[in-house]
Amino acid sequence: MTDIDYGALVKPDRVHSSLYQDPALFDEELERIFYKSWVWVAHASEIPNPNDFITTHIGPQPVIVNRDRAGTVRVMVNRCRHRAATVCEKRRGNSPGFVCPYHAWTYATDGSLKGVPMPKGYKDFDKKEFGLVQLRVDQYNGMIFATFDADAPSLDDFLGAAKPWIDLFMKQGGGFPVKVLGEHKFTFPGNWKIQLENTTDAYHFPIVHKSFLTSLDGATEELFSFMDAGGYVQNLGNGHSVMVMIPELVDLEDNLDADIPDRFAAIAEELRKTLDEQAVRRVVRAIGGTGFNLNMFPNIACSMAFFRVLRPLAVDKTEIRHVAIGMDGAPDIANQARMRLHEHFQGPMGFGTPDDAEAWERVQRGASGPGVSWIMVNRGEDKTAANAGDVTAETGMRAAYQMWKRMMTA
């Protein structure tokens, strides 16, 4: 506990730059946000079979996300109950259990302690008390979340108005289940909330991403020129928000009768070799992803055609993963197109990400040093039922910071 007045650092239209800089505040964020909130840990397609696992983190804490032998999805602290060594360092795999490399304490896939070497050295030792620590786990439409907090509201309540948007996002399976295809992972020297803001920031797009826009064909460039295309940003509660950039791509199952754009003609022709016309149209319409970014507090976004996952490493260092998703079982050409689109914008060699990272790094640098300074998030009016809103409104940032304030002052 520190004596910082967190509530005073977030005003309706601005936040204090110490939110990017103060190491003590960062430590409190881990305790009050990342160890209290529901945190996204995996997509169900990453662990389809019994004994499948991935390893990931909640803040600095390594965790295992797995499907146990009986098929139950679990999230467990990746820490031996003996002397705390991690019991698994592989990023992903399939294993009938986990063996600590230090003294060979052995755990089943459900986390129960199965055996310890030379057990006679322990008196009154009940293995049942020494299973891997289990987190609360729940899923929504393939999205797996976990929380350390036994008293957190249900995932259902936490996601609330974000749920219908998750459902819309998953329509980019194009008639197939959504599947993780790979990921780009990178770090930038800046605070995690700079990235949280960015996913709901349409204002930067034509500036920072001009070189990306220039590289697109005419029709695609027009699609991404969404400043005056009827988009909007909406506060969905609990820090979540949606930024609709391309309204006609909100529901990918609408307008399936429309003409297939010329730029997809060759792909459509290839798809017709194995799919009927309706299936071809569903795949083609979904191939570029949705027209919105769903930003969920604190660490996950469903961003047009990929998942954006952030992990705070230090007050001034953040890891970002851009998880590529595709259509499980669709013809190769469909997923090839999706991966090439992902490579085009995302990752350390993408035409978009390095420019974002440059801007974020400069925010961190500019915000450093003594003196009072405020980060402005005052742009645009919030969408109401009566107005169309403004895609460049900083509504999503305001929503996230109000949730930050709520959790930090709880």
Binding site: G182, K210, S211, P348, M349, P354
Partner: protein, 158 residues
């Protein structure tokens, strides 16, 4: 070094120098039109078309990538630093299915940018086809030693 790989090594050194000198137009001219420039993520994965890479560039993407690096429109490319690379440990591999020459080598690339120094080590595999005056690049695969780790933005061509 055996004499039969000398012209190949000369070509690869020339390519490396063009990239460090940022002579991207000359670099583009080294390519066969059907060639691919690949920076993979997963070690052991070779079906590049069917997996996610950092870069999987055909001719059009290479041209766009160079345009991005040189246009002044990209804030990160405008802040690009200096690279100095050394290429060595050459080994001729078995020729490819179309008779193309294949060569693997080690690359140490030093980058200085925004006050940061970074070292990128990589295995680089070349597929070359003979052409007037030397060779054309049919494939260049740059497998970074830390390809599966979290990387920083790259504003150069490895």
């Amino acid at each position: 070094m055996s004499a039969d790989i000398d012209p190949i090594v000369e070509f690869i050194w020339h390519e490396a120098d063009l990239l460090d000198q940022k002579d991207f137009a000359a670099w583009l001219s080294l390519w066969d039109g059907a060639g691919h420039y690949v920076v993979p993520i997963d070690r052991g994965q070779i079906d590049y078309a069917n997996c996610l890479n950092y870069a999987y560039d055909d001719a059009a993407m290479r041209r766009m990538r160079v345009a991005r690096l040189t246009s002044g429109e990209s804030v990160s490319a405008a802040a690009a630093g200096v690279t100095v690379r050394t290429v060595s440990r050459f080994r001729r591999l078995e020729d490819g299915p179309g008779g193309e020459i294949r060569m693997r080598c080690a690359q140490h690339l030093f980058e200085f940018r925004n006050g940061n120094q970074r070292l990128y080590a990589a295995d680089v595999t070349y597929s070359l086809v003979p052409a007037a005056g030397g060779f054309k690049l049919l494939e260049k695969v740059v497998l970074l030693a830390n390809s599966s780790d979290a990387l920083s933005g790259m504003t150069f061509l490895p």
